[in-house]
């Protein structure tokens, strides 16, 4: 990734004619839950409110957390999940999943939430016509952590992923634990072997294996597949993805069993080979009914490093044995595994693969389908949020200007676009177009303007060619292999 050291932040591109304009909510690094308009104006900050992620609810409510467990003892455990009103009052809170007594810390209840949650009324946590999340009641699905021992997987302390459903009063009504479904996940013996030896051990709490690392969890909601009789896609069923294993799965809400799965291997059928190896993915969900592409699976296929399997030069032990240095946003038909739409370095206009790492976030990130067919993509590691049309035009681009003091990154975990009328406290803002700047002539103050003062013709030189003689194969040449 060749980043310049100087580049603009905030909104850098905005075409109001082609955008589905609204507010965008995201967790500004070490700052709080930040709401910006299309021109990047920061219209609201819930200062210090953590967000893993933040989500906005109709009426100007925001969801987030009052804090995170001490990293020495917990891996990304959020203390609670709260709903906060426009004025910063906590109007709903859940924390009673586990009573935690960490050394030197005040004993307390914790939600141990991480990565995702869904409020009843909407399956995926983003704007969907006719499916607004409830703000004064309803159940909430929460993705959380629990430490377990399961010697079928490994003899080590495992950080398991759990999903719970809590009511408005905070009662836990339903619970699902991933480790109890280990034998449904489809690991081959090679993968089981490395999992047993190293289930992605992390330092927190004197060592725990973050063996799955589920980072997304949502309901399917009503969909055409279930309407056609496919029980796997019952609207109450839950879809999740696990970045460390490259698995995407749907679980039956009633039985807890896995009824649909993509991964961990992507070489066991022609369909999967054509799809390509999904690696370290985030935000796998079903596009909700009422949005273009409804019923398809949308995922941010990060690339990076993930998986358990055979050792190779990039993975001497077999852990994180799949690697790729660019990302893909994939929209997949869940019944055929065919790619319906994608945004990859090729669609981004980059020379593939030699320049592909310009569209790359090896962790975090997400994708939201918008009502006009555009897709809001969080390319998280670089703090870049873009809105792209179905024919791949970037019609909005925003770079987070917030770098952390503790972590020197402007990363954005996952951003969401909401309609203006979800924030009745504000007048609809102006929408000022921002043309894409021609970087060939863009100069900093004091820098020389473009163009050369003295050009000399050299007799006998021949014209430049295309890119067929790069040091490595690219584009068409690559396709011919």
């Amino acid at each position: 990734m060749t980043y310049p050291s100087v580049f603009p932040t905030g909104t850098t591109v905005y075409n109001p004619e082609k955008c589905w304009s609204g507010y965008t909510i995201y967790q500004a690094r070490e700052l709080g839950a930040l709401l910006v308009d299309m021109n990047g104006k920061e219209v609201k900050l819930w200062k210090g409110l953590h967000g893993f992620p933040n989500k906005l609810l109709p009426g100007g409510y925001v969801m987030g957390h009052t804090g995170e467990r001490n990293n020495a003892y917990g891996m990304q455990d959020q203390i609670d999940l709260v709903q906060v009103d426009w004025d910063g009052n906590i109007v709903w809170k859940f924390n009673q999943y586990e009573f935690i007594e960490d050394p030197g810390e005040e004993p307390q209840w914790m939600a141990r939430q991480h990565h995702d949650y869904q409020r009843e009324g909407n399956p995926v946590g983003y704007y969907t016509p006719g499916m607004e999340p409830e703000v004064d009641g309803g159940n909430t699905l929460i993705l959380g952590h629990k430490n377990v021992r399961n010697t079928d997987i490994s003899d080590k302390n495992l950080l398991d992923d759990v999903i719970i459903e809590v009511d408005w009063e905070g009662n836990i009504l339903w619970e699902w634990a991933c480790n109890e479904h280990f034998h449904e996940l489809g690991f081959d013996e090679t993968a089981k072997n490395i999992l047993a030896r190293d289930p992605n051990m992390r330092q927190a709490g004197e060592g725990m294996g973050d063996w799955m690392h589920i980072n997304s969890m949502s309901k399917l909601g009503p969909n055409k597949w279930y309407d056609a009789g496919d029980e796997r896609f019952h609207p109450e069923n839950i879809i999740w993805d696990a970045r460390e294993t490259n698995i995407n799965a749907i679980i039956d809400k009633k039985t807890g069993k896995i009824v649909w799965k993509l991964g961990p291997r992507y070489d066991t059928s022609e369909e999967l080979k054509n799809l390509g190896w999904i690696i370290g993915q985030h935000h796998t969900h079903m596009v909700p009914r009422g949005l273009p592409g409804e019923g398809n699976i949308l995922t941010f296929d990060n690339g990076g490093w993930a998986g358990y399997g055979s050792p190779n030069p990039g993975s001497p032990t077999g852990r994180m044995n799949a690697v790729r240095d660019y990302s893909r946003v994939l929209e997949i038909d869940p019944t055929t595994f065919k790619i319906v739409w994608q945004y990859t370095p090729v669609e981004a206009g980059l020379v593939h693969p030699v320049d592909s790492n310009r569209f790359y976030s090896p962790f975090i990130s997400g994708a939201q389908r918008l009502p006009n067919g555009n897709t809001l993509i969080t390319e998280g590691s670089g703090g870049r949020i873009i809105e792209v049309t179905s024919d791949y035009e970037v019609v909005w681009e925003y770079i987070s200007p917030y770098w952390g003091k503790f972590l020197n990154m402007n990363m954005v975990y996952r951003a969401y676009r909401v309609p203006y009328d979800w924030v009745p406290q504000l007048e609809k803002p102006g929408e000022i177009p921002i043309e894409k700047t021609d970087v060939t002539t863009f100069r900093m103050p004091g820098a020389a303007p473009s163009g050369c003062e003295d050009e000399t013709e050299v007799p006998g030189v021949v014209p430049y060619q295309g890119d067929n003689a790069l040091c490595v194969a690219a584009e068409e040449e690559l396709d011919e292999e």
Partner: protein
Amino acid sequence: MSNTLYTATGCTRCKIVKNFMEERDIPYVEKDMKAEGKEEFQQFYKANRKYIYRGENGIEFPVFTDGDVIYQGIGPAVAYLLSRGKLDKFFSVGTLHKEWVDGIHVFRGNPEYAGEFIEVLRYLKNNNLKLQVDTKGKNSHILQQILDEGLGDAVIMDVLGPGELYSEILGEDIDINEVEKSIKTAANFPEFYFQTTVVPVVRQDGDTPEISYLAPEEVAEAAKLIEAVTGSKKNPYLIKLFKTKEAKDKRLKAVEPLSAAELLPYRSKARTYQVFTEVEKV
């Protein structure tokens, strides 16, 4: 009638029972079911299978018979050899393995025979076994003696429900002070946990008895009782599902079983008083 001890090759518990008999000059014939006694045991098992417990890991040995009675497992066998039936209710065949022995029910036996009961425990303990006892609150003084003599390594205490329903669920009158004493004693064992099974209760409301499960609030009251007696919200506490087929009252056999998910509201309520409350995994 001659005594027969069915054993298995390498079974330490069988050797302990053999030693017990030899120390007391009790004559017996040993039949090793993995050696010369295999065929004989199979015939014995076929003729008596309803008296012999067969668990997930097979049959627990030793199995003792004098021709009239059959006692399976180290606890029941030693108890019978010592007391000739007086201790029957204190022991049953256990499910734990290696050095651990369970199936020791403090609450169930006749307290008049507490001396013999303790003697059996001493014998087992002197043979380097670890003892897990269980109780529902009765015979608190016996539980205290087990603790005082260091005979018990672990205790599981069923706190059956809130005080006002305790006798109803236990099926006999019990002073709640007795239950409280047991709770207090149990919490001082090297290992312990409390548990409550969400049972259906016959409730006399008017002329017609009605049957309904313990409510989450009632289980929370049990958790509160534990907190009140131990002074701690941090006791290990498990909420369990009622198994209708194991009900002795015919009226309760017909009750629709709860699902595991239906235990979760109980956990939420109980955690107010016992923060480490968990629910049974099915």
